[in-house]
Assembly symmetry: C2
Homo-oligomer: 295 residues x 2
Amino acid sequence: MTDFKEYLGSCQERIDGYLNQHLNSDQPRLDRLFSAIRYSVTNGGKRIRPMLAYASCEALQGDIAQADPVAAAVEMIHAYSLIHDDLPAMDNDDLRRGQPTCHRAFDEATAILAGDALHAMAFDWLAAAEQFDPAIRLRMVQLLAAAAGPAGMVGGQAIDLGAVGQSLDIETLENMHRQKTGALIRASVQLGALASGHASQAHLKALGTYAECIGLAFQVQDDILDIESETSVLGKQQGADLARDKPTYPALLGLEGARQLAASLRDQAVDALQPLGPDSARLQQLANYIVQRDF
Amino acid sequence: MTDFKEYLGSCQERIDGYLNQHLNSDQPRLDRLFSAIRYSVTNGGKRIRPMLAYASCEALQGDIAQADPVAAAVEMIHAYSLIHDDLPAMDNDDLRRGQPTCHRAFDEATAILAGDALHAMAFDWLAAAEQFDPAIRLRMVQLLAAAAGPAGMVGGQAIDLGAVGQSLDIETLENMHRQKTGALIRASVQLGALASGHASQAHLKALGTYAECIGLAFQVQDDILDIESETSVLGKQQGADLARDKPTYPALLGLEGARQLAASLRDQAVDALQPLGPDSARLQQLANYIVQRDF
């Protein structure tokens, strides 16, 4: 088995190639829109969600190529959400991954439309993925739409915006993150599993628990990094969340408490993988990576 | 057969009831988001797209109740596009149907999220419409996603924004409108036909031609009304498109030329319905209504 960093790199290369190949239009009048789309989608993201889809597919002995459309779909939903979240009316961020945000590099109208286009294309590509049975594809669309909508990502973002300046208790904070980032992480795992063609209910349940845990762990680590990292490493202003008086795990639990929570969630995630056996090694490594990453 | 205005009213009542019943959440923290969603979706729109879905379903002897989820889905995509188009960075409109636009009545962040939520929910509801076979539902999702995305509505809006201050020729203007408004009108007709359970390829082709024609006719009439109507009737600033130096049909063809084009498109639309026989009467009436309406 290759080194985890190599595996992560190979997943990044794979999804970047797939996205670059497909994210274009033959309409010259859409050049600016697609420049903004490609700029936002291929600016060096970590590709955690595509990797989760690939690794879940492989954990169930699926062929990694099967998972390309679902890896692309979850990353496109993620990319659209970042574009919209960065807008002046939302988080008003100038930098994303060390580069100007989409509305800074282009303009606000183009950024809004680039997000909307990615949102629609994610469903378009998924629905058109003919290697899957219609019933499977439909299930994928349902899972992704639920994860993206008000019961998932959009709802979490709405709650987050409404919570600026409020002190949330840990349960409310957890629910907010479960929707804002957890739902799409869960969908990434579920869609990857469905792409394998061998996903039983028991598999989906085990992977669901795994996804819940790493989803929260990811957020806790994000909050920790927001305090610890320098702007140059993180690619956005350090302490940006604190500066906006957003509720964070370190604010609620202290830095050491937040670190312990992240480690405990990682352990629960790894435990949940036991029924899947050794083929889930990549998912285990990913759980470790999520709480150990420093960017 | 009841009067057309009565029929239109019954369709409006039907879709308003369906949307009001379903557009809510049990999460108190999403109250503001759903207030903005309901405000935008149920503020007295003409409901042309739901009516097209219902009338197409009936034209193929389908039960009107079958078409509820598709009527809702196309109206939700339409409503999301209006919310985003009205934003300050886009058309910067203060009024929509005589009422403050979503970002004026609420705030910009909520308006962006309300649009995003409607976008995701449209696919969620469609994918969950269990009265249809998975293969039919999947086809519906594909048609709607393609109509909403860069090859359709979002692409048309991008071209429109890029064309402000430019003089477009009639072909480019037509292509722009075919994407911006035509694609979703076509999808409304196609999804309604699929909802009937009796849509043959020949039906879909005839209805496709019909939809192309009324889609353009609708836009031509919109441009005419923008010049003719007073602000109080239209619910937005009169001459707003001209004032922003947007290309319009009357600007290219003169007012009389635009009127003739609208009438000719109406005639082509009605001709296209011939293979469907008398059950397509509502669609014929709708074609007339589109070029005769004064609001």
